[in-house]
């Protein structure tokens, strides 16, 4: 079972690397690359911080033992 999981994750990682290598960004205009970086970058920052927000909201449900005493 574990071998199967390892093989699957290795295959997934290889596919990601190969896909990235196969994509050719060299011919793309520099401003297009810039806009892509800007859009994806801002989206990524909001996404990650949004996940932190959800994490905190979930953790707000943790009761403080010392507060209950």
């Amino acid at each position: 079972m574990m071998n199967w999981v390892f093989a699957l994750s290795e295959a997934a990682a290889t596919t990601v690397v190969e896909t990235a290598q196969a994509n050719d960004f060299a011919g793309m205009a520099i401003m297009t690359k810039g806009l892509l970086t800007t859009g994806m970058g801002l989206l990524g920052v909001f996404l990650v911080l949004g996940l932190f927000f959800v994490t905190i909201r979930l953790m707000q449900r943790i009761k403080d033992k010392s507060g209950q005493d």
Binding site: F25, G34, T38, G41, G44, L49, I56, D64
Partner: protein, 404 residues
């Protein structure tokens, strides 16, 4: 050896000052002096500006010549102590990581736990990074013709310049170093650290320009209550895991920041926490400042690049501040409980200086307005946001230009 040759060797430093390189040396000594003046007289981030200024003076002293007229080991050169410091702490990204452990040990996430919506200011205030990145892509080939055609270098340089806006020195160094911008390291790091120290000068006019007095008078409710200990311990672990999975390039910085925070919050490592907050922070700050100062060699600093980088860095800083303020104003369109838009400006990473500046401004308008805790929440979020933005920029630019 005749007497004239002996005198020439003895006073080689004085003679050096009468050459073109010597004149540049004098200019750099003056710049180092200005940084020390700002640190001592104006109290602008003295812990950083003073070592940087003195490092700049050391790095620009006339070269030491041996009896044969060859350049001997000095503070620079392959065996000079400043070179050793640079290679040991900046070239391998160690100092930024250590600084983040110290910063993590100083951060209290309790106010953010109380009002997590403030976290989005840490994202909105990264707007300047990306705006500057785009502007840099346009300006770099024009102002620095030697880069024209080298889209790889332009992208890397624009990325490092944009990150200056985060007001996060270690992340700026980390990105610049990742993209191997060694010859641009001096202006980039000086811009990042000097603008960080100029938060009280740069932010207030931008905030005033974008807000009305009525908006600056908005009061926000806050009840003092510490978050549960379990939540404070879990938070750094979960944040590290999320960042490491989604933005792996941010893992070293987020990981070290959160490790420092975990030491603080776990409650069983008080000695380590205090060491990280004091001894580690102080020691690394001294070494980091000197190492940055050592990059300010005249030939690398007295160039058009420096003016461009300093100018764009200021642009980034202003737009980051504006991004946070405008985002708060945007949210106020939909919120019943209005946010004081000044809090949005604290979404940059200069912790805790930016939050203090915002509270000071609020107090100037209304002596009884207390928005420090909300500003601190936005400020610690900015710390997280700038690291994530740095990781995103490294990942995206790296992917687009094929940088390994």
């Amino acid at each position: 050896m005749d007497i004239l040759a002996l005198l020439k060797e003895l006073f080689s430093g004085v003679l050096y000052l009468f050459t073109l390189a010597g004149l540049k040396t004098l200019v750099m000594l003056a710049i180092g002096g200005v940084l020390i003046y700002l640190a001592v007289k104006k109290d602008y981030e003295p812990a950083l500006l003073l070592p940087i200024g003195f490092g700049a003076i050391l790095a620009n002293l006339p070269p030491v010549m041996d009896a044969l007229g060859n350049q001997a080991a000095s503070v620079l050169g392959s065996e000079g102590f400043l070179t050793v410091l640079f290679n040991a702490g900046i070239k391998n990204e160690l100092f930024p990581i250590l600084i983040f452990i110290a910063v993590g040990a100083m951060i209290d996430f309790s106010p953010l736990m109380k009002d997590p919506s403030m976290i989005f200011f840490g994202a909105a205030a990264q707007f300047g990074i990306f705006a500057t990145f785009l502007v840099s892509l346009l300006l770099i080939p024009v102002v620095l013709p030697q880069t024209a055609g080298d889209s790889n270098l332009i992208m890397r340089l624009a990325a490092a310049i944009g990150i200056i806006g985060a007001a996060d020195g270690p992340t700026t160094l980390y990105v610049a170093n990742h993209f191997k911008l060694v010859e641009y390291m001096a202006p980039i790091s000086v811009a990042a650290y000097s603008y960080m120290s100029l938060v009280p000068v740069i932010q207030p006019p931008v905030i005033r320009a974008l807000t009305t007095r009525k908006e600056r008078l908005i009061r926000m409710n806050y009840t003092e209550q510490r978050a549960p200990k379990a939540a404070l311990i879990l938070f750094p672990i979960i944040v590290t895991a999320i960042s490491g999975i989604i933005v792996p390039m941010s893992a070293p910085l987020v990981g070290s920041l959160m490790f420092g925070n975990l030491i603080r919050e776990c409650g069983v490592l008080e000695r380590l926490s205090k060491t990280a907050q004091n001894e580690l922070a102080n020691l690394v700050t001294i070494l980091l400042g000197l190492a940055i100062g050592s990059t300010m060699v005249a030939e690398n600093f007295l160039r058009w690049d420096t003016l461009l980088i300093m100018g764009l860095g200021l642009f980034a800083f202003i737009f980051d501040t504006a991004g946070g303020v405008l985002f708060a104003k945007f949210l106020n369109l939909f919120r019943k409980n209005k946010i004081n838009p000044m809090v949005g400006a604290a979404g940059i990473s200069a912790f805790p200086m930016s939050a203090r500046v915002i509270q000071k401004m609020a107090k100037e308008e209304d002596p009884y307005n207390f928005i420090l805790m909300q500003s601190i929440s936005a400020n610690v979020s900015g710390q997280l946001g700038s690291i994530v933005a740095g990781g995103m920029v490294i990942a995206l630019v790296g992917l687009l230009i094929g940088w390994r």
